[in-house]
């Protein structure tokens, strides 16, 4: 996952330079004969999603809209996949525009070119049939399990709207996909979710245990994003959207998707201009973001410092079991190591967080993250300690046995302490690796430093400044670890090698 942060940083730097770099203007798009539009198919229906009949094909009302726009421009549409909250970062690099339920906000007005609105969304609160959540106002008081846990799509208007409602007793939990939060409400991990009404209408059949609460309580418009330095492309898209509205093709598209075309057209007609946000000073930026970044850094430390000792204990036990346990358990433990080492951490976290609730084990996100990290790293530690135990000369074991120690006493007092010393350098560097891998936990809604950075960078548009602050925070935390590992190495170099085996 180190590569993910490096990528993000590179993207940040690149993006900041994009003003100078040549983004694809209208002429380039026409010359290329392709309009590259970015969206996240994980975001789901009715926007952009794999066709259930043929999953290799994408479908959704925005897929059709993109095709219409491209054909009006006289080019072919080409889809570019990206993670929803980072789609704008693709502008000027691998995409000409973003068409994916991007809400029209003052900040986006400032940082990108926003087309005229093409769709009106409304935010809807959802819950399970059996919760006491009967009206939106119920959220103002504590629920039966304390604060209401409400899932939203990370980076969406639902998230900012719910977070700004300090009058409500809610913990807002960000997910990378909208279906994830629906699943978590259905399985009881969340009390409720907030999303665009069209999404829930689309999936209502699949989630028959869920219901809407009240009418939608807020709303806004979707816009097509283009890079700031492509004014003519932006103007051309504006013109096309206008044409599609005027000649009724957009309305009939929405009607085909059961999206109330008539009502959409009325709402689009009434769309008011959205103001452009002001750029904050560095001081204001720090004041507003530093407390959030620090709290997220605390989460990173908590995740690593709790999960790593667990990983070491499990890993050491597995290593001892594989080398000295009953023959019957050895292949089982070998299988444990291979499965956990051979599958991605992300997948394991998903399994713990999203699949276990289906069999009645609903772990809170933090517990799931710690468990996932501990299990994943235990496989690596098991291999490290196995190597360490094998590196202890056989004579040490025999000498312990000859003194009358049992096999387990010899392990506990002689072999394990020596193995622990031998593997100290690789184990320390694994700790640093885990420390950085904690960023994967954002996939299951745990907000640690990288996730917080990415959310703040995108919402404030201050990608470079915040990247520097975040990098400094990471350094402040990993520097002591590096010192610790060097201290261990010096200590081991100072000691002479153990006597050779008899």
């Amino acid at each position: 996952m180190k590569s993910r942060r490096v990528w993000l940083f590179a993207a940040a730097v690149f993006f900041s330079l994009a003003g100078a770099a040549a983004a694809a203007e209208l002429d380039d798009v026409l010359a290329r004969g392709e309009l590259i539009w970015a969206a996240d198919q994980e975001g789901g229906g009715p926007h952009v999603f794999p066709d259930p009949v043929d999953p290799r094909r994408l479908t959704g009302f925005e897929v059709e809209l993109a095709a219409l726009i491209a054909s009006e421009l006289g080019v072919k549409p080409r889809f570019q996949q990206g993670q929803w909250d980072r789609l704008p970062l693709l502008l000027g690099r691998t995409a000409d525009c973003v068409i994916n339920g991007i809400e029209w906000t003052p900040e986006r007005q400032r940082d990108y070119r926003c087309s005229r609105p093409y769709f009106a969304y409304a935010l809807q609160l959802l819950t399970r049939l059996d919760t006491p959540l009967d009206a939106f106002g119920t959220l103002a008081a504590m629920g039966p399990r304390g604060r209401w846990r409400v899932g939203v799509l990370t980076g969406s208007a639902a998230e900012t709207t719910m977070q700004s409602r300090t009058d409500l007793e809610v913990d807002v939990v960000g997910y990378d996909g909208t279906i994830d939060s629906l699943e978590q409400v259905a399985s009881g991990v969340l009390d409720a979710a907030v999303m665009d009404d069209c999404i829930f209408n689309f999936y209502a059949d699949r989630f028959s245990r869920l219901r809407t609460v009240d009418r939608p309580f807020a709303g806004g418009f979707y816009t097509i994003l283009t890079a700031r330095n492509t004014p003519r492309l932006s103007a051309a898209i504006d013109e096309v959207v206008g044409r599609l509205i005027a000649d009724g093709r957009l309305k009939s598209l929405y009607d085909r998707w059961d999206l109330a075309g008539r009502q959409q057209m009325l709402l689009l007609r009434d769309a008011a201009e959205i103001p452009v946000a002001r750029r904050k000073s560095i001081g204001e930026l720090c004041r507003d973001t530093l407390p959030l970044l620090l709290r997220a850094a605390g989460m990173t430390v908590l995740l690593s410092c709790v999960s790593f000792p667990l990983a070491v204990c499990i890993g050491l036990s597995v290593a001892v079991g594989r080398l000295y346990g009953p023959p019957a358990v050895r292949p089982v433990l070998a299988g444990y190591v291979e499965v956990l080492r051979g599958t991605p951490l992300m997948l394991q976290l998903y399994a713990i967080f999203f699949l276990l609730p289906k069999i009645g084990i609903a772990l809170p996100a933090l517990a799931a993250a710690i468990l996932g990290l501990a299990l994943n790293y235990s496989a690596y530690e098991a291999e490290v300690y196995r190597a360490g135990l094998r590196a202890v000369p056989l004579g040490q074991f025999e000498a312990a046995l000859a003194l009358g120690l049992s096999k387990w006493q010899a392990l506990r007092h002689v072999l394990v302490p020596q193995a622990v010393r031998i593997v100290m350098p690789p184990v320390t560097s694994d700790f640093i690796a885990l420390f950085k891998d904690t960023s994967v936990c954002s996939a299951i809604t745990v907000i640690e430093l990288t996730k917080r950075y990415s959310v703040l960078a995108l919402s404030t548009g201050r990608i470079v400044e915040l990247a520097v602050v975040t990098a400094l925070l990471y350094l402040c935390m990993s520097w002591p670890l590096a010192l610790l590992s060097r201290w261990f190495e010096r200590r081991l170099e100072g000691a002479e090698p153990p006597p050779p085996a008899a």
Binding site: P393, G395, Q396, E398, A399, A400, L401, A402, L403, G404, L405, S406, K407, Q409, H413, V414, P417, Q418, R421, A495, E496, P497, P498, P499, P500, A501, A502
Partner: protein
């Protein structure tokens, strides 16, 4: 105290020991001599169960070992009464000299940490290394390390001590200091079996000598007869 009866052992279809029988009474020191590869060390390792054997039987300090795999409980009981000193010392490199000596009395005999350390200090004084209690084994000379290994085995107050080539890894000066310790031990009446190339050691410490050649006993007798 020690009886070996018709001991036979093969390793990968090669006979390592063939019909070996010997006896050592309480307070005697038996030296096993012979060329390299004659099975001396294997015989010694059979005496405390570090190796199994194919047929015959062994009785050491009242514990009876039969052919085939040994039970863990039997081995642990036997080894409490049978100390062993290795050619390469095998001191625990992560522990101090004193901790090396005090570990087994504490863990196996259940002595308190303080009692185990007191016993350890006495034994280190006895082998002349009281001043090195806090040192790491790796900082000691080979002769000093072997004396610590002897003290470590003695800390369990064994009824029988086994020595596997105790001076082979040492230069003559260091051999001499280890030899003195072993000779002192023989004078106290400690029952011992030692495998050695070192005729000086055998002459000075042993009362009975067994010569092993190609896994068989060629001859055995008193030191005067044999060396």
């Amino acid at each position: 105290m020690i009886t070996v009866a018709s001991l036979t052992k093969s390793r990968a279809s090669v006979r390592v020991l063939e019909d070996v029988s010997l006896a050592g009474a309480e307070g005697t020191v038996t030296a096993v001599v012979g060329p390299s590869g004659s099975g001396k060390t294997t015989l010694l390792r059979c005496l405390n169960g570090l190796e199994t054997f194919d047929s015959g039987g062994i009785t050491v300090a009242g514990h009876r070992l039969e052919s085939g795999p040994h039970g863990q409980g039997l081995l642990e009981r036997l080894r409490r009464d049978v100390g062993m000193v290795f050619q390469q010392f095998n001191l625990f490199s992560h522990l101090s000299v004193l901790e090396n000596v005090a570990l087994a009395p504490r863990v196996v005999r259940g002595l308190s940490a303080a009692d185990a350390r007191a016993r350890g200090r006495d034994l280190l004084d006895r082998v002349g290394l009281g001043a090195f209690a806090a040192a790491r084994p790796a900082t000691l000379s080979g002769g000093q390390q072997q004396r610590v290994a002897i003290a470590r085995a003695l800390a369990m107050q064994p009824r029988v001590m086994l020595f596997d080539e105790p001076t082979s890894a040492l230069d003559p000066a260091m051999s001499a200091e280890v030899l003195e310790v072993i000779v002192d031990l023989a004078r106290t009446g400690q029952t011992m079996v030692m495998v050695t190339h070192d005729h000086a050691l055998a002459r000075r410490a042993a009362s009975w000598v067994v010569e092993l050649v190609a896994g068989r006993i060629l001859r055995q007798g008193t030191v005067a007869e044999m060396l």
